[in-house]
Symmetry: C2
Subunit: 294 residues, 2 copies
């Protein structure tokens, strides 16, 4: 274990996958002393090689001196946290998470720690695991918190400062509204892309399937990026935000059917108007003003 | 007009939008003398400023000395070509197009020119117009030709040489199979993304819509990139490949409904298996081996 600088602020990161590893890289650069906790010693070894934190261990006691702990765990683990982890969290520390569905996380964690702040950085790639973490993942992205009456205001401010120091745009909203919004813009796209991949997978003309693979271009790659992402993450989204996702999916299926009817009726002027509205509407959802030209 | 080098090979490009402009930039670099034809003098002026071709005119006679002419026109214009254009095409030249649906293009052009080669580079961005052309758009992409018994073999070879010189991977197939394949991997993704944008557009809770805009991240941007693209291009795809698209859409709607039922039944193990198959399947459709990690 390297010598520590006792004046450094200490942050604990539980889980050093895509989000945890990226946080570790950025927070060290910002002057934090980062303590990383992983489940397996093999992961700890690789995380040390990659320099994801200054101190890395499989023993939850590594969190003992941290003033802030980020639970960068998969949603499923976040909802059934191990007792050793709960016991190891310093009572004075601020605890936050990165779970993409907030209401179920809050129903578990609000009662487990007095300074728990439910939050969620809107950033990700299809990569996962200890090799996935990368620098500047959060720059320019939104970081949402969903405080309720139980949330400690000073703890909330501390997480806000952390998010903004990483270059994220900080917003707060209600958990239920957050979960409806991510169902529409994050979870529904997973289903949409996965169903497209499934359609190609089930195509039973082998010549057509082979040609489709040969001619598939960036449009197909982009449309299926999140749908072909981490299966456990996708399943956890669906299992923990089920009713909001089913509402979003139902609306989506209706709109897709409207397009089908326009095409069957060969109403090309109507379709042109719909596509023109879609094109005009899309930039409102983009963070970088130039994104729609790429 | 700059002085021409009579020894240069001359290529004509009809239309200097995304595809035509990109071809103009690359082909000049490869030593071709590029003659660009545009409809409007304003476009010709801008194309000259951007250096998209050495010779640019609104007069079809600019194609007179070209040994190869690429019809880089929108599908709708390609299917109803103006008489002046047809008359201006040198009889000895090889003619090819870039239309994304091949059967209707062939039914028009096979009878208009003896050396017509139906082809289609699988490359694109959401950008359009005279400012959209960019270098190296075709590198590493597939370029498909759909010759039939009428296609001149030497003309076909000339287009193959052109495509490979641009760094594209050349393949030939039957027009009908091509049109089925692009319905699945190129045209269906347009509908899928546009329907997602429409779902957000029609959301009638203003707080939810505003939050969705704030939290939308790269996953939403990617899933909707082609669905929020050029409306005229999208409409032309649907209008000219209607039956293949309706078959693809029908299969897609069935698969989406299978997902809906799995979710309603809370069959999370089944969903995990489906997502795992999607993730495993996707890289087969990607050109760059690393693409799935981004």
């Amino acid at each position: 274990m390297e010598q520590t600088n006792p004046s450094s602020k200490r942050v604990g990161i539980v889980g050093l996958g895509l989000i945890g590893g990226s946080l570790g890289l950025d927070l060290q650069r910002l002057g934090w002393k980062v303590h990383g906790l992983t489940k397996r010693s093999k992961t700890a070894h690789r995380a040390k090689e990659r320099g994801l934190a200054q101190e890395i261990s499989t023993n939850p006691n590594i969190l003992a001196q941290c003033e802030l702990v980020i639970l960068a765990l998969p949603l499923a683990q976040l909802l059934v946290p191990p007792t050793e982890l709960i016991d190891a969290l310093p009572k004075a520390a601020v605890i936050t998470d990165v779970g993409s569905v907030k209401a179920p996380v809050m129903s578990v964690w609000n009662s487990l720690h007095p300074k728990f702040v439910p939050s969620h950085p809107m950033a990700g790639t299809t990569a996962a695991g200890v090799d996935a973490g990368q620098e500047n993942l959060f720059t320019g992205q939104t970081w949402v918190a969903t405080p309720d009456l139980q949330t400690d205001p000073l703890a909330l401010q501390k997480v806000a400062d952390l998010a903004t120091s990483l270059g994220s745009k900080w917003i707060t909203t209600k958990a239920e509204l957050h979960d409806e919004a991510v169902a529409l813009i994050s979870h529904l796209p997973v289903l949409i892309g996965a169903a497209l991949l499934k359609t190609l997978e089930k195509e039973d003309n082998p010549s057509l399937q082979a040609l489709a693979k040969a001619v598939a271009s960036s449009g197909f790659a982009d449309t299926t990026r999140v749908g072909g992402g981490n299966p456990a993450l996708g399943t956890a989204m669906m299992a923990n935000n089920t009713s909001a996702i089913l509402r979003a999916l139902n609306a989506y299926q209706c709109n897709l059917d409207i397009f089908r009817k326009i095409i069957i009726n060969e109403n090309w002027q109507g379709l042109l108007e719909e596509f023109t509205k879609s094109q005009a509407h899309r930039p409102e959802f983009l963070k970088e003003p130039n994104d729609f030209t790429n």
